[in-house]
Amino acid sequence: MTAVLFDNVSRHFGAVRAVDGVNLEIAEGEFFAMLGPSGSGKTTCLRLMAGFEQPTGGHIEIFGETAEGVPPYRRSVNTVFQDYALFPHLSILDNVAYGLMVKGVGREERRKAAEDALAMVKLPSYGSRRPGQLSGGQRQRVALARALVNKPKVLLLDEPLGALDLKLREQMQEELKSLQKSLGITFVFVTHDQGEALSMADRIAVFNDGRIQQLGSPEEVYKQPKTRFVADFVGSSNVLPAKLCQKLGVRSTYASLRPEAIALSAPGEGALSLNGTVSAHSFLGAVNRVVVDVDGARIAVASPASLVVPTVGSPVTISFAAHELHPMEDA
């Protein structure tokens, strides 16, 4: 069943087209990521699902029901806010039980449900504290518990890991993923971190300028970017200009080539190659990033750290398998 359906949805603020003709269909139980730079319309799309914004055009359905005109408090959709938005004057337990309290669930029942939810996010016995006494990671978990205790049909997450440090973020990514699997709830996740989207989502919609640039599995989006924007934003694909495309016999104007698909060696059988000079390199741990200048185009190569790095200025041949070269739409 379709959990969320956007049919040509727009949200304009005066002359600003925050969301402009977006079509998408999110399946029930899916982990769906909306990826894009700030101001690309991904958060507005999330707010349209939550009901904080109303579309200025198009049609939204959530589980087959029309969403336009339905206020947030009558939607079985809950949000984990970017800065958590915990109620500072309530205890953690009352924060988590808030959704049940306003729906008239009895005191004892909602206390139990809230405690279960806190246990689920690994914060049992934190119920009597105040939000101000918790660390960022803990608040994040409370926000998650507060949303999930309502058993929403769709859980919306607005850059929920943005404020956490790297280690905590990786841990939360795994936990979110396994939580989503075990609960079977549809997760819609907004992020500007492509690594996060790639590692967690079942499908990704890449946003730019209020429109979806590409919608597909992480692998598709990563390996076969449809537009130059996607190639550039998701990871750091090389975009080969028209001149090189012609030389290599590609029919479209632009083509993408991932740095890790390129080798700094003479071509093997059936491989394509280009000649250039090394213009810069840097050590990134597992790989060396070598920038090669080919007829004025700068092409990044991810070379395994075990290999010798050619010195800057030396001529080099780069090679790659023909199927790694992906033609792109002109946009």
Binding site: F52, P72, A85, F87, Y98, M101, V102
Partner: protein
């Protein structure tokens, strides 16, 4: 590259000012003492000290025959304070202060909410002007203006007669306690003017409190299923409560102490402020006047204690 300085340590600033800033930098607590001493002396000695001296007077008594103050510790003045007439004054003042405070809060909240949540740019400026402007004009002029507005020949009566609602005013004025000959000589008139004069003191703290409530808390409540009424009751109101309490401290204590408004507008019955004025002025009974001033202090103390117990300051 141009050199910025010869050495790591820059040369000393010349003169006394330079030495002084070096000294204060090395001894921050001295700076703190220098800055805090004058206001603390003012508050501690001049302000609290004189207040304390006044309170001390309430434990003396007055000699009924000579009219001189008898400097002996006694509770006689407090016994006098609790006589029926004086209790009547206290009760009248406290009831008025309470009603004025509640009404101010009810009127102020929507205004403050609009100003904090929706007003932007020039509308915000307009809001501040609208709130502050009455504070810039003379208090007495405003009150006399209100006396004219509320008088029997005033604009309120005239307007109500024009829209054929004179009977409503007459019905209200014929009620016991709140009624009277005209609005300007009734408790209703006193109430209206009190609310008008103290309203800015209620609006500004509430607006400040609401301004600090992050918008996403309102959204979070709505997201979790809270209707607008529930969001107000469980999120907005508790978070605005410190502002409401702060505002009510102003309106409540200002009403408790005022002696001009009830003198110009209202029935001729006394309020605490008028009683203090009369006792220390005409009657020359400083001890009783002092005892009367203790009443608002005790009431405010009790009020703040209750507010704290009810958790009004939890969100601070």
């Amino acid at each position: 590259m141009t050199t910025v300085a010869e050495n790591f340590v820059l040369p000393e600033r010349r003169g006394a000012a330079g030495r002084l800033s070096d000294f204060f930098w090395k001894h921050p607590h001295v700076l703190l003492t220098v800055m805090l001493a004058p206001p603390l002396l003012w508050l501690g000695v001049v302000y609290i000290g004189s207040l304390f001296a006044l309170l001390l007077q309430s434990f003396f008594s007055i000699d009924d025959f000579s009219g001189l103050i008898n400097y002996e510790f006694t509770f006689a003045t407090y016994r006098q304070l609790l006589s029926e007439t004086n209790l009547d004054i206290i009760l009248r003042t406290v009831s008025m202060a309470a009603v004025v405070t509640v009404a101010s809060a009810l009127i102020a909240f929507p205004i403050a909410y609009y100003a904090a949540r929706y007003a932007q740019g020039k509308w915000k400026v307009l809001f501040y002007l609208g709130i502050m402007l009455p504070l810039w004009s003379s208090y007495l002029v405003k009150i006399y203006a209100w006396k004219l507005i509320l008088a029997k020949e005033g604009i309120v009566t005239w307007f109500l007669a024009k829209v054929h609602l004179q009977w409503l005013l007459d019905a209200w004025l014929s009620l016991p306690v709140v009624g009277g000959n005209s609005l300007s000589v009734s408790y209703t008139g006193t109430f209206i003017v009190f609310v008008y004069v103290w309203l800015p003191f209620m609006i500004l703290p509430i607006q400040a409190a609401l301004e600090r409530v992050p918008g996403n808390l309102i959204e979070a409540s709505s997201d979790l299923g809270g209707t607008p009424a529930q969001t107000f009751r469980y999120v907005l109101f508790p978070l605005a409560l410190p502002g409401i309490v702060a505002g009510s401290i102003f309106t409540f204590s200002l009403t408790l102490g005022d002696y001009i408004i009830p003198q110009i507008i209202g029935s001729s019955r006394l309020f605490i402020g008028q009683a203090v004025y009369a006792q220390q002025g005409t009657a020359g009974n400083i001890p009783l006047a002092a005892a009367f001033t203790v009443v608002p202090i005790v009431i405010m103390g009790a009020y703040l204690y209750m507010a704290k117990r009810m958790g009004a300051f939890d969100a601070l």
